[in-house]
Amino acid sequence: MSNVWLHRYAVLWSFCTLFLVVAGGLVTSNDAGLSVPDWPLSYGKLMPAMEGNIFYEHGHRMVATTVGLLTIGMVIWLLRAERRRWLRNLGWISLAAVVAQGVLGGMTVIFLLPKPVSIGHACLAQLFFSTTVAIALFTSESWQRGAQIVDDTGGPPLHWLALAAPACVFLQLALGASARHQAIGILPHVIGALLATGMVLWITVRIFMRHADHAALRGSALALLSVTFLQVFLGIAAYMSRVATADAPQPMPVMVGFTVAHVAVGALTMASSVVLAIQVFRHVRWPLAEMQTEGVVVPSA
């Protein structure tokens, strides 16, 4: 039996996490990462004067604290109300991720933005957001109505594509974070965009062609394709605005706006690819099982 309020809480938690990603993007784009030199306090206080870039850095910390508390609340709620053990465990994993994320955030301040830590902080943020979205999906009423199983024949197996898509998107996010923190140039990120977009096109077109009448698969594929196209546009806009304002004496709003939108939609792209993978594994019969039912001898591992 579904718990409507638990699901609503999970959706709220996901939105807050997306807002946290936006807040983090604003910190980096405004070069505000070290505007507060101490951590965990800010200028030795819980609430410093929110002037200049301190607004972005301390604001990010405040939103992060809120998400941390929401995560604790989610774990407690899951432990009390959720019967699925694997879902309770996923709640624990999300808590571990948010704790690790906080530690990484503190390390970026204390150790003056070491690139591996900053990139790790950016990547873990994306994974954490995807986890919150997955938990929101698992607690939804539609999920608990049961699966509508369909077959998918031909190669490569749809399940493989479903795994490859989020893997490519995550690789692309890591390349983007590396370029943003100046560990690499922009070229690997551009090549990664081609790879990730190609992978998204492959799986979504295949779903539209073979499973257009399956609401869950079609809806997830459409969402992924839409945010991916939007993300490509935002990536081009972010790059062009950065080039156009390179001589500016400070980060310009047009560059900050497009870049932060690119980061946020990147998180949505990652989460959408994870949701599609979950839906494929839930609704599409494994080719292996199909082969077994048809009497094909499958060699054991």
Binding site: G33, P37, W92, A96, V103
Partner: protein, 256 residues
């Protein structure tokens, strides 16, 4: 699952403990000691003077938007401040060029001035925009603004640090142990604030001002490489030989 969670926390803690900063503490190594300081032979010292010209279209100085911090904006009421990245003087010369003897200076310990070089934070701008100091010479950093600043040098050779300075806080005395030309300095609270520090092992350097000229005095006779550095236009090197008591002129030209 509980054990996995505990392991993750422990791993994070170990990572924090193991990550001892991005650079080693700045303790100068016991390098081969240069001969002790001795008075400069003023009687035979040479002088190099010159000016740094700018040719090409005069660039537009970009206006800085300080509206994010009213305390900063108020300090410039009526006249929005301009970026000091490229400042062309009225006589066509270039301001804020660091000129120094890059090579050829005798390997000895040069006396370090006891007077610190001051960097002021006033109107949410650094002044001067470019300074030169000797290695281990004090730099006095002052906050004259009614707002918080953080001072964040970004050296590649010396130790990086980042410290806040409250309104009307005590001046900070800092120094850099190793030669490095140049060290960018920024304030992350006010992202338009940027200055540069040239750290040199000897006293033969200068920064061009509002007439674009420089003068390097007290040089022992010899053959040198003199370099002019500008934050946007890069560097220019010239070899020059000076004799005892000689005064030579060496001009530079940067194209926009």
């Amino acid at each position: 699952m509980k054990s996995i969670f505990v392991s993750l926390i422990a791993a994070s803690a170990l990572f924090v403990v193991g990550c001892g900063g991005n650079k080693a503490p700045e303790t100068p190594k016991e390098e081969a000691a240069a001969p002790a300081a001795a008075p400069i032979d003023e009687a035979n010292a040479a002088t190099i003077t010159g000016k740094v010209s700018f040719s090409g279209d005069k660039p537009v100085m970009r206006t800085i938007d300080m509206s994010a911090n009213p305390a900063c904006a108020r300090a410039h009421a009526g006249a929005p401040p301009k970026s000091e990245e490229v400042v062309v003087n009225g006589n066509g010369t270039l301001r804020n060029v660091f000129v120094w003897i890059k090579a050829g200076v005798p390997d000895r310990q040069w006396p370090i001035p006891s007077t610190p070089v001051e960097i002021a934070q006033k109107g949410c701008m650094y002044g001067p925009h470019v300074i030169g100091v000797m290695a281990n010479q004090d730099i006095k950093i002052v906050n004259d603004d009614p707002t918080n600043h953080n001072i964040h040098p970004l050296p590649k050779v010396n130790q990086e640090w980042n410290e806040s300075q409250p309104p009307n806080g005590d001046p900070k005395l800092k120094k850099f142990a190793r030669e490095e030309v140049m060290i960018p300095v920024k304030c992350n609270v006010h992202p338009w604030m940027r200055s540069y520090i040239g750290v040199v092992n000897h006293p033969f350097f200068a920064v061009t001002g509002d007439d674009g000229t420089f003068s390097i005095k007290g040089l022992p006779p010899g053959k040198y490489t003199i370099e002019a550095w500008h934050e946007k236009f890069g560097t220019k090197d010239v070899d020059i030989t000076v004799g005892a008591k000689e005064s030579k002129s060496q001009d530079f030209d940067f194209k926009g």
